[in-house]
Each structure stands twice: as structure tokens, then as C-alpha cells.
Amino acid sequence: MIGLRDVSLRVDGRLLLRAIDAQIESGEFVALIGPNGVGKTTLLRAISGLHAYAGTILVDGAAGAELPPLARARRVAFVTGDEVLLDALRVADVVSIGRFPHHRWWQWQARPEDERAIQQALRAVRMEALSERFFATLSAGERQRVWIALGLAQETPILLLDEPTSHLDVRVAHEILELLRTLAREGKTIVCALHDLNEAAAYADRIALLGEGTLLTVAPPAQLLNGRLIERVYGIAMERVRLPGGGLRVFAGPRGAIRG
């Protein structure tokens, strides 16, 4: 469960987001959308305890700001696709770092439960066969799956993901989203920043729309995509297509649809 009460965020002194109130329940998959630079990543980082904020953020019932780093990392995992230069690490080495919050400083050796969690995480993202490969030799999509496995290895009730489907081909992207859907069904709270509105519509229980310096709404996909708010926030007209199964998909309008 995640609770946001009157949360505001600043970046370099500039107010980025203000007056955010939201409640996300256990077992819920919420997609976080909004234009570039609106503050999706910053909000996810704030919930993860990686960015300062004003207001109250509750993670799994506890005030995030009061949690020590290790306790917080046992409740919230944050998956980001930012590339960093890694030394000669193998896939399993990277994923094993997800077990860091479950160890005291003198506990150097992996325990059976660590091995189990690492293998389970690798299996979930279908990277078992590549566990001994050097991370640097992986494709962008494979690296993304490793980062997700790292978050899964933390075994937290809350999983936050920053654009996990970027760099992925359409099949792998849907596999990842399907995995997140499954994790939500198993009881995890999933919040996932996405750029593809239709991915959000297809997999999320609710979509949270950031725009105009705040959280504008958290609504079911059909309700959000059907309204005009989304066009206002993105500043572009959208075409809507109703699927035979009842779902709704949106597409940016033709040339000349850009507003403002």
C-alpha cells in the first residue's frame, strides 16, 4: 500500500509537483503517465526515499521519511533503466545485490533464502539461462530485465518501475507488463511510469496522470482515455479506437493535431 498526503516535490529549488494526494492499495497495478519532464521519475524516487519531499508518504503503512534506508529497501524496490558503467559483473552478481537490504554488514555469504530469491527473480524475467553472462554483453532489453530481476530479488511488497518497457521490443515489453500484472495479482503494489498510453490502458488497474504541476487524476483506463483531460495535458488531439473486447486505445491525432 502507498499513501500520498499533500506531497510536493522540488528539483533544484524549483517546485515541480504540488499537493499530491493518492492511495494505492496492495495488489493494484497503477501506471504513472504524463509528458516528459512532468516529474514521473522524481515522484517514484520520492516514494522510494531517494528524493526529498514535503508532505507525507506512507509505504506499507509506515512513514517513508522515518524509515532507515535498509528498512525502507525491504518495503520498496525501485527499478530504473538508467545505464551505469558496470565492471565485469555477471547477471547473477547484479541480481544478488538486490539481497543487500536483507543482510547485516557482517553477513557476507549468500544464504539459501538469498539463492532462492535470486533464482526466482531470474526465472520471472526469463534470464535464468543468461545468469552467468557478463552484464556488459547483454542487449538493452536483456539489461532492462536484469534491473527488474534486481528489484524482484529485494522481495518487497511495493515495486516501483521507471519506464521498464523502454528499449524493449513489443513482445518483451508485453512480457514484462504481463509479469507486473501477475505480481500485482499475487498482492504486490506496482507503480510503473510509462510513456505508451496503450500499454498503460492494457495492463494497469488505474492510470495516474501527472500534468500542470500536480497529480490530476487517478482513474480507470477507460475513463481517463475517454476524457479530454489527457489531450489537454499532452497538448495533442487523440483518436480513440474501441476494441472488439471492449477496451479503449488512443492514438495521437494526424499532422496538425498538436495544440498550443
Partner: protein, 332 residues
């Protein structure tokens, strides 16, 4: 496999130690040395050679090598910069400057190691204060502050040497700059042991954080690492180990820079085996190098820093720059 490699690395330490014990003005066999080591309270010339001359020197060489290598590995891992060595924080430069000034001021030889230690640690504190950002340390500021302070101290050393009234002053300063274990004994080791022990303990506490930092600072924070605390711990450990090494042997360059690279090539970047591996290779390298320094121009001695650079740098360049697997080239 990593553990086996680490065990193999640690096994080279007694080998290098034994080889170093055999070298000296008085020829001794391994059996004689072992016999003396087995009788610590015997009264004889042989006993004095083994217990009062060679063993402390070998122990000091091993301690200096291990300390510098561990310090270098930790700072390289923390700053994710392969060019960093344990002297980055200005420890060596400040120690050299303080000792240069002390020599010219007529300080007794026995006071030079503690002067070097205090100045080195003081420089590390100053650099850390300059690099402070919020509750943590800014990596770029740390490097810039360390390099700047080192340049200032180097200028002071040069000024002292140029303006020295006698050749003896300049020679005394230069011998510190080149590094040497000549004349060091148990009392030096005893004096620095509390700082070495504290540095080693902090290094042990840094194993988990160093491993977490391999995936970058942001992700390390995300898995629960208190990065600020980890940085201060690593910096304190590396500074204590480097300052104690300077007090023991002057400026022994090269070890803290390349031993971590070589060890990483053998055992990988997992700090659980990297740090013990660095300690083993650093210790073995310094023990053997010190023995060669004693032997090569006997009865005089070659400065260990000079020898390590002349032989080690080409060997390192060959090992490090030869073609290899792309992934293994990337450094933390």
C-alpha cells in the same frame, strides 16, 4: 572458483615472506630461519638477525603493501574511477611536505614517522571537508580537492629541497619521497597498529557497501545503502591505512594504484574476495620488492618506490592493455 582463487592468492603471502626472509647481508638457510622463528626467546646473533632485523621488516613490507592495495581498491570502487590511488586524499603529499619542513627544522629522525602520519591524516580530513556536500561526499570535489592539495604540498617539498642548506637535508627528504623500510622495526609497527587495525575494521565494514556501489550510487541507495555513511567509512579506512603506511615506509607509490587492477583481473570485483586478494598481492609484492631492493645494490639499498615503478609499470601496462574480453575491461 572465486574462493579458490582467493585461497591461492593468500597462499603466495607465506611464499613471498619466506623468500624475503632469505635475503640479507648474512646468508641464512630456510631451515635456520624456521629454527629461529620456533625459538623466540633464544639469545644469539642469528636470533637477532631473524627477529630484530628481517622479520619486522618483512612484516612492515607486508603491512604497507596490503594497506595501500586495500585502500586503493576501496577508493577506486567508491569513486568508480580506475585512476585513483590511496594517496588521492593528499595523505602522501601532506606527509612529505610536513616531513620536508620537519627535516629542515632539525626534527629528530624518530619523530618523522608520527609527523608524517599526523600530517597525512590531517590532509585527508581537510580534503574530506572540502569535498563535503550535504551529509555526503561529492566524488568530483574529492578528487579535485585531493589533486589540488597534493600539488600545493609537492610545491612545498620542491621549495624545501631547492632551498635546503645542506645536501643531507635534501637527501633525507628524498629518501622519504622514494619510500624505504630501512631502519624500521617492531616499535614502528606497534605505534601504527591501532590505526591499521581501525582501518582494517572499517574496510571489513565496507565490503557490503562496496559491492552494492558496483551498480551505481542511485541503485545502491535504492537497495538500502546509506551511501553517505559508506563513503565516510571508506574514506576513513583508506586514509588511516595510507597514513599508517606513509609513517611506516614513506611514499611507496604504484602499489595502491595497480594492485587493485591486477587483483580485479584475477578474482573479479566482488569485494568479499577483492579486498583479501588485494591484501595478499600487495603484501607479497612489497615483500619481494623490498628483498630485491636490499639485494640488488648491496650493501646499499634501492628505494622500493623506484623499483616498483621501474619494473611494475611496464609489467602492468602489458597486462592491462593487452586485448581481453570487453566486459572485463570495464572498471568499477
Amino acid at each position: 572458483m572465486k574462493t579458490l582463487k582467493a585461497i591461492a592468492l593468500i597462499a603466495i603471502v607465506p611464499g613471498a615472506g619466506a623468500a624475503s626472509m632469505l635475503v640479507g647481508a648474512t646468508p641464512l638457510t630456510l631451515a635456520q630461519i624456521l629454527s629461529q622463528l620456533g625459538h623466540p626467546h633464544e639469545q644469539s646473533v642469528l636470533h637477532a638477525i631473524v627477529w630484530q632485523l628481517r622479520l619486522p621488516r618483512v612484516c612492515i613490507a607486508a603491512t604497507v603493501g596490503a594497506s595501500l592495495a586495500i585502500g586503493g581498491a576501496m577508493l577506486q570502487g567508491m569513486l568508480r574511477n580506475p585512476l585513483v590511488d590511496p594517496y588521492l586524499t593528499g595523505v602522501s603529499a601532506a606527509a612529505a611536505a610536513a616531513i620536508a619542513v620537519a627535516v629542515v627544522a632539525g626534527a629528530a629522525a624518530a619523530t618523522l614517522p608520527p609527523i608524517g602520519f599526523v600530517a597525512g591524516l590531517g590532509a585527508a580530513l581537510l580534503v574530506a571537508a572540502l569535498a563535503r556536500r550535504g551529509s555526503g561526499i561529492d566524488s568530483n570535489r574529492l578528487i579535485l580537492a585531493g589533486v589540488s592539495l597534493s600539488a600545493l604540498c609537492a610545491a612545498i617539498v620542491t621549495l624545501v629541497i631547492v632551498r635546503a642548506q645542506s645536501y643531507d637535508y635534501a637527501a633525507a627528504v628524498l629518501s622519504w619521497l622514494a619510500g624505504s623500510m630501512a631502519g624500521r622495526g617492531w616499535h614502528d609497527l606497534a605505534a601504527t597498529s591501532p590505526y591499521l587495525a581501525l582501518g582494517a575494521l572499517l574496510a571489513l565494514a565496507s565490503v557490503g557497501p562496496l559491492n552494492a556501489l558496483r551498480i551505481g550510487e542511485l541503485r545502491a541507495r535504492a537497495v538500502g545503502l546509506d551511501v553517505d555513511r559508506a563513503q565516510w567509512t571508506i574514506l576513513a579506512s583508506a586514509s588511516l591505512l595510507a597514513a599508517a603506511s606513509v609513517a611506516l615506509a614513506g611514499l611507496v607509490g604504484f602499489v595502491g594504484l595497480i594492485v587493485p587492477h591486477l587483483t580485479r583481473r584475477v578474482v573479479g570485483s566482488d569485494a568479499r574476495v577483492l579486498l583479501p586478494g588485494c591484501a595478499a598481492i600487495g603484501a607479497a609484492l612489497c615483500m619481494v620488492a623490498d628483498a630485491v631492493c636490499r639485494r640488488i645494490v648491496a650493501p646499499a639499498e634501492l628505494p622500493i618506490g623506484v623499483l616498483l615503478a621501474i619494473i611494475g609499470v611496464p609489467a602492468f601496462l602489458y597486462l592491462y592493455l593487452r586485448p581481453q574480453v570487453p566486459a572485463a575491461r570495464v572498471v568499477a
